[in-house]
Point group: C2
Chain length 155, copies 2
Amino acid sequence: MLRLSKMTDYGTLVLAQMSRRPGAVHTAAELSEATQVGAPTVSKLLKQLTRGGLLTSQRGANGGYALARSPEDITAADIIDAIEGHVGITECATDHSNCELEANCNVGTAWQRINVAIRDALRDVSLTELAQPSQLRAPEVRLTGSLKNIPIKVE
Amino acid sequence: MLRLSKMTDYGTLVLAQMSRRPGAVHTAAELSEATQVGAPTVSKLLKQLTRGGLLTSQRGANGGYALARSPEDITAADIIDAIEGHVGITECATDHSNCELEANCNVGTAWQRINVAIRDALRDVSLTELAQPSQLRAPEVRLTGSLKNIPIKVE
DNA sequence: TCCTAATAGGACTAAAATAGTACTGTTTAC
DNA sequence: GTAAACAGTACTATTTTAGTCCTATTAGGA
């Protein structure tokens, strides 16, 4: 847990690809070709990103998708929100039926603090940075292959 | 995504319960009773937490589990590591077979930066804080019921 | 020594979330 | 009017997570 879904991974690839020509209009087929992610999947992602306000779409012949704003103004938080929905670190149920012991459930604000810190971190990184080839490579980390192949060892 | 699994949620409840009497030895049955989490599940959690070094265990009659160190020295990161394993925000595969396009996969260090920020946030919160009844309640947040029932709305 | 209380470990099943696909409808350019 | 392209939705398959159960091991006490 605490990791990105594959869809977000793919979504980042697609957006990174688009950010190479920020003004251009890209078709789903073209982006699928460029990223090697399956066409139906790319199509689904593009719809989600459009609904999330990150892309604009143009129907019909010569239509396609374009970035709704400059890559600097798109953050990791935006991408995750668009693809995974706006979820926090803890689940939330509007229904309280399964919790008998109130004594144990004062475990709230500390997690909220963590959650805010996470969102700050996510908001602090732009698509531009996400799309950038990495100059400083961590010594033991291999950086070929897609995002999902980057072993991240923290501490 | 980017949320805690139920097991981590339960694990926190169990640890919070134990932190009330930091030196004491608790049996799995007792903790299940106190937290209302199913006995086999609590048992499984306690094993994981023990393997993770957060608890010490004593077998046999009068045996049970105790905190391996003071609640101040147990962090949210420790709990997550013990229960969910030491994972980063991105998946990691040792096998590179599915990634054809190397051009798209320079998307590494920015995620690493985010990952480090997240781990810092998790390391900054101790079990003591997690177990504390929350004094400052966010206005719209209901803090009765278990952890999973706290709707966390960020921004 | 034997019985009971307790954890250790692992295998297995069930449920839920995710990923991926397919189909049908709508819009627009030529 | 036809083809290109997105929009929306429903469905299936896969994977992950949650939860249960069984057997083994350890330790205390009668």
